[in-house]
Amino acid sequence: MPRKTKLADKMQRTLGQAPRSTGELARVPPVTLPVAYPIEALVPQVRLQTPAVGQRATRPDGRLHGLGQTRYIDDLAFPGMLYAKIKRAGIAAARILSIDTSEADAMPGVLAVLTGREIPVNSFGPSLQDQPVLADTQVRHAGDGVAAVAALTEQIAEAAIEKIKVDYEPLPAVFDPLEALREDAPKVHAPAGNVYATKVIRKGDVDAAFARADHVFEGRYATQMVEHVPLEPHAAIAMWDPNGRVTIHSTLGRITLGRSDVSRTLKLPMNRVRIVATIVGGNFGGKNEITQEPVLALLSKKTGRPVKGVFTRGEEFTSTTTRHPFVMDYKTGVTKDGRIIARKVRLVLDGGAYCSWSETTLGKACILSAGPYRIDNLRVEAYVVYTNKTMTGAMRGFGAPQVCFAYESQMDEIAAALHMDPLEIRLLNAFEEGAASPTGQVLHSVVLKASLLKAAERFGWKEPRS
């Protein structure tokens, strides 16, 4: 008791908080080492102040971060917990002839082995359910999981997946999105073709406008695959309880969607699935859907123990979603004073092996592909195609950065060809208040021109550059 009082005094002295009862104090979670922090002090003050802009803001979780006391998924452990590892295919396209897990199963310290055939509904995905949790009949990219083990230690699990023998019949693979478009390309999801979503936007009369244009510019722009690289790898812990419910602690950023995917893949009613999320160590769109959660759940069911899985940094690159590479063809008709009157855009999105958030990305990329510019005559055609590569999915902007690279690059080329100032040509074409997007949405609070002018003034655009 005397110690508690002392602690309270000290916290009060340090943090300038109002005195509190010892009852309140008891709610402060215990810490490993002598560090005291009142959770109450973490309530952000800034929301109470208006206007917020210009105010100094701290983060409510900032102190715990600095103290190293924030608990991420991999910082949690449960009694009797096992460690899971997933065996990755390492081959881009193949038929799975057989999977022999007997040697791994027999290893001391290995408590369970799992293959795709044991997963009740072995497919998931936010729009198309085309991705297996563990590949069972066919491998479509090298990062596909083909089997998993749960063992007493990570080292044993690691050694055990090496002992799993998979017999593959290699299939022809396709890695380039333009090649994947061709009729004779290997089909990633045979017998279906590789194009799995398309979108078209038409506005005005593009052909007539091109005929009227003083200049026509054509260019191809391409962007590469990007991984989110959150500092915290994907991690989850699953616990199947004797009443047939499963609790999964996970780095998932979208737990509601994750819950329905887990319930679907495990064929469990939703009310038997509990997903617990905590602070995520970086998401950026890459933690928006399930990865290993159903695998861990089934391993927990088999062993009656909590099972933890943490992706290696290598798996982050090969087996989690990435940003879509785009191949973008832009044809733009311009009057001699620099006004854009016609634009044709063709986007080919490299969709990787599975759909994931490709449809969302496709839609947003199309709508934004003309840029923030008034273009009365527009045609956009976009395709997303399967390739035998790591699946592409949600990543900040959903396709917006890719098309921005294309239309702004071309804008600079047009300005250079017409001997115009790159700022002037943008101001000439920029959206104004009440402008309509390519799909007819009327835009409000449009401050594009003002922003451009302000930015140009602030970084000295007009000043001579060396």
Binding site: L7, K10, R13, T14, V31, T32, L33, P34, V35, A36, A57, T58, R59, D61, G62, R63, L64, H65, G66, L67, G68, Q69, T70, R71, Y72, D74, D75, A77, Q155, H228, V229, P230, L231, E232, P233, I279, V280, G281, G282, N283, F284, V310, T312, R313
Partner: protein, 163 residues
């Protein structure tokens, strides 16, 4: 699997011993799994990201690259040992006040790299701070607020070195 050894170290000022450490155990694994000090994070396990940074005998090291046995007899400081019961370390306070961390996963490593710097060089230039943090990747912040925080903490420590 193979022979286990005992590892004794001064950990955040307290002598601690792990009695049965398998030889392949990294210092990071020992701290996190054996001593339950989860402040140091596993970001890459190959020395690229700095999320696992701790201070061993005054030097910031990647705990994922150091074997636990190599730390036998050393003085190890982890993020958990930086604050006292009375107060945050000036770096922790500056990181909080400047909202220098977002997801926070890189934070313990960054703060300890900064601490090792300030112990050696109480008045670093911005470039020296950048160099000291160059082994710590942060995916969220863009680093500027971290650098500001290190400058603020350096000033505070110079004004009151024993603070």
């Amino acid at each position: 699997m193979t022979d286990v050894t005992a590892v004794t170290m001064k950990l955040n000022g307290v002598t601690r011993t792990a009695s049965a450490v398998p030889p392949e155990t990294t210092l990071l694994a020992l701290l996190r799994n054996q001593f339950n000090l989860t402040g140091a994070k596993l970001g890459c396990d190959v020395g690229d990201c700095g999320a696992c940074t701790v201070i061993v005998d005054g030097n910031a090291v990647n705990a994922c690259l150091m074997l636990a046995a190599q730390a036998d007899g050393s003085d190890v400081l982890t993020i958990e040992g930086l604050a006292t019961l009375e107060r945050l370390h000036p770096l922790q306070k500056a990181f909080e006040d400047n909202a220098s961390l977002q997801c926070g996963f890189c934070g313990p490593g960054v703060i300890l790299s900064a601490k090792a710097l300030l112990d050696e060089n109480p008045d670093p230039t911005q470039q020296e701070i950048r160099d000291a943090l160059s082994g710590n990747l942060c995916r969220c912040t863009g680093y500027t607020k971290m650098i500001e925080a290190v400058q603020v903490a350096a000033r505070a420590l110079r004004a009151k070195p024993d603070a």
